[in-house]
Amino acid sequence: MAELKKEEKIIELVGVTKVFDETTAAENIDLYVRKGEFITLLGPSGCGKTTTLRMIAGFDIPTSGKILLNGRDITDLPPNKRPVNTVFQRYALFPHYNIYDNVAFGLMLKKVPVTYVNKQGETYTKMRKLTRKEIDEKVKSALAVVDLEGFEKRSVSTLSGGQQQRVAIARAIVNEPEILLLDEPLGALDLKMRKEMQIELKEMHKKLGITFIYVTHDQEEALTMSDTIVVMKDGCIQQIGTPTDIYNEPANAFVADFIGDSNILSGTMVGEKLVRFCNHNFPCVDDFEKNEKVDVVVRPEDIRMVPADRGMLQGKVVSVVFKGVHYEITAMVGRSEMVIQSTQSAQTGAVIGMDIGPDDIHIMKKEFTVNKYDGYITKKNTVAFGDGEFACDVTTLYPGSHLDEEGYLITADGQQLDLTDTDVTVEVDLKDIEISDDAEEGGARGHIVSLIYKGDHYQYIVRTEENEEDFVLDTEDLWNENDYVSVKIRPECIRMKLKQEAK
């Protein structure tokens, strides 16, 4: 995106990191928001979106980095000094006040400058509180915006969830903030109510002209409402873009998987703008280096069903589900699964043809092609890395070497070496890592923190507890997120390199 002029950025986060105890909730966030924009922070729970919002509100102070509001550093400013108001997830309406007092809360505390001229002709500026009448008018018009006229005297507990939500919004916008922060404000509402409120919020945004920063884990909500979406994962920003950009040009497999439905497949670039997957070469619009392994994303609605003999791909239909507007058809192409959305139905068991246009093939760099670690050789001629210890073949470090009876390494020219504590770099291919639910079986242990389905296999990330080391692996087996597993690697699959010559 083009660099914006300073005055257009209402808020800017520069390298913001937040660490709680020992977990990093947000890592090196660089983000700016344009004046008047509707921006959504989107991601699964624990991705750092709420933490980012809370830092903008001032409830949490960043561990490092800066937050600029209209170019002014507000990193350490308390919440009450920021021209920002929040709509809380559980509304947080004050139960001891009625609706009027809730909405008027901010106005009662507010002071406005008044200037007047004294006899000598000098102008003075004084701060005064708002008058009863001013507060009355503002509260009235805020309640009108959220369609709750006449609710002034009601108590909070008599209101439905949707009405409380509206009061929470009125209470925030009545202060005329520069930015309105919304923390999953529709999370507690039922589906129908949520859809209505989505439209109303969008209209409110247009009418008020305030910048909205919205947090949600609901990708549909984000796509419907936002001008800009920020996709987050594990405290890091994955992609920033318009809903169309994010949907059509996902930056990586995670974004593609998280936003909408998608077929994610492994492919290889075989020529200029030519990619091979499912044993077929497809023309595409993205250019990558030849022979590079890539992730290919195809949206289910972008696959056209054609007669079997005419399609680029042939597949056997394994399931057909009617979804109202369209059918969702799952077909097996070789060993890969393809999901197709079509207004036409198909017969289970039938062979269908499929066409995919060049524009509909989204190619992205494979995020993980190999696991890399820093490790060291232990006493027992095993290698320790990734919070674990694995059997390995140390003789690969020195061509032509062998081990003697005491476990010392004898190099090709007869030199005896003690490799204990030698630092090495370790590389393991994704397909060479196996996981087991027997914690004792493998060399390292951890929880599965992520899984992405890639057509004919799953890609898992196993994270260890101690130092949060990640093992990325591809396997056809199905595991669940949060499963506690151990990681097995065969000795010949561990590629090691010396960091420096051993003594």
């Binding site: 001032g58 919440p79 997830q89 901010g106 925030a172 202060n175």
Partner: protein, 269 residues
């Protein structure tokens, strides 16, 4: 054979208990309060009531009890609120232990505690000359945990998002406290006040021990009428007056208010 009881049948023991130990004694106290013993037997009379409100000694005892109870309660509240606030709102990991230290004295025999306090006050030279001060110190010392605990409970369950919302809407720390934290902790404050005020009016072991019998509070006077003067009628009347005072003070502080959200007295413990 299986025994089956209806809900009504299960209530019988409790009903009996209530009748025997609550209703009948109350009626007896009422009976004694509004009767006098004459040589011809017992007869109905308002003279006890008239006597109470015309006797200077009884009224001054009432005033004394009131003053001591109000001061003790106020001091307890002033000391307990910050303690409860710090314990409840701090991120200390060991706060349960700290709370326990404040509550622990409650588990030690109360007479022992008061006797120990008496020795302490004697040692610092307060006991002989400062009857009021010593009595109030005793009351505060003894009833402080009863103030801390309900305050702690109501502050602990206070949702942090209310405080964040108040700050977000422009409230500085003082405004957040006065407009949100304190009002929302009111159930705890009320229940704390009730827990301290009532016993402070009547707990004469404290006043006797720490004022060398120089201060007479209402509880002491009731005791005297029953055990020294053998005038059960006057003793009962003072009890009734005390009961009415407590009832009125509860009404005044809203202790009976039954709000749907805020259960009365913050459920005490």
């Amino acid at each position: 054979m299986t025994l089956r009881f209806s809900r009504k049948q299960l209530c019988i023991p409790y009903a009996l208990f209530l009748a025997l130990f609550v209703v009948i004694p109350m009626l007896l106290i009422l009976f004694y309060a509004f009767t006098v013993s004459t040589p011809d037997g017992i007869r109905f009379s308002f003279s006890n009531l008239a006597n109470f409100f015309t006797s200077e000694s009884k009224l001054s005892t009432l005033l004394m009890s009131f003053t001591i109870a109000i001061i003790s309660t106020a001091v307890c509240l002033v000391i307990a609120y910050p303690v409860a606030y710090i314990l409840a709102r701090s991120k200390l990991k060991k706060k349960q232990v700290l709370l326990m230290i404040f509550i622990l004295p409650m588990w030690i025999n109360f007479v022992l505690r008061i006797t120990a306090l008496r020795e302490l006050l004697n040692a610092v030279g307060l006991l002989e000359s400062h009857n009021y001060l010593c009595t109030i110190i005793g009351m505060v010392y003894d009833f402080l945990p009863f103030m801390i605990l309900p305050l702690y409970t109501s502050l602990e369950k206070l949702d942090n998002s209310y405080l964040e919302a108040a700050a977000d809407l422009g409230g500085n720390k003082f405004a957040v406290f006065t407009k949100v934290t304190f009002p929302l902790s009111m159930p705890g404050v009320i229940s704390g006040i009730t827990m301290v005020f009532m016993p402070s009016m009547t707990n004469y072991v404290i006043s006797d021990t720490l004022s060398n019998f120089n201060i007479t509070i209402l509880g002491k006077q009731i005791d005297q009428y029953f055990t020294t003067y053998y005038d059960w009628h006057m003793g009962s009347m003072i009890s009734i007056v005390l009961l009415v005072i407590i009832f009125l003070s509860m009404l005044l502080t809203g202790g009976f208010k039954d709000d749907k959200n805020e259960a009365r007295g913050a459920n005490l413990w």
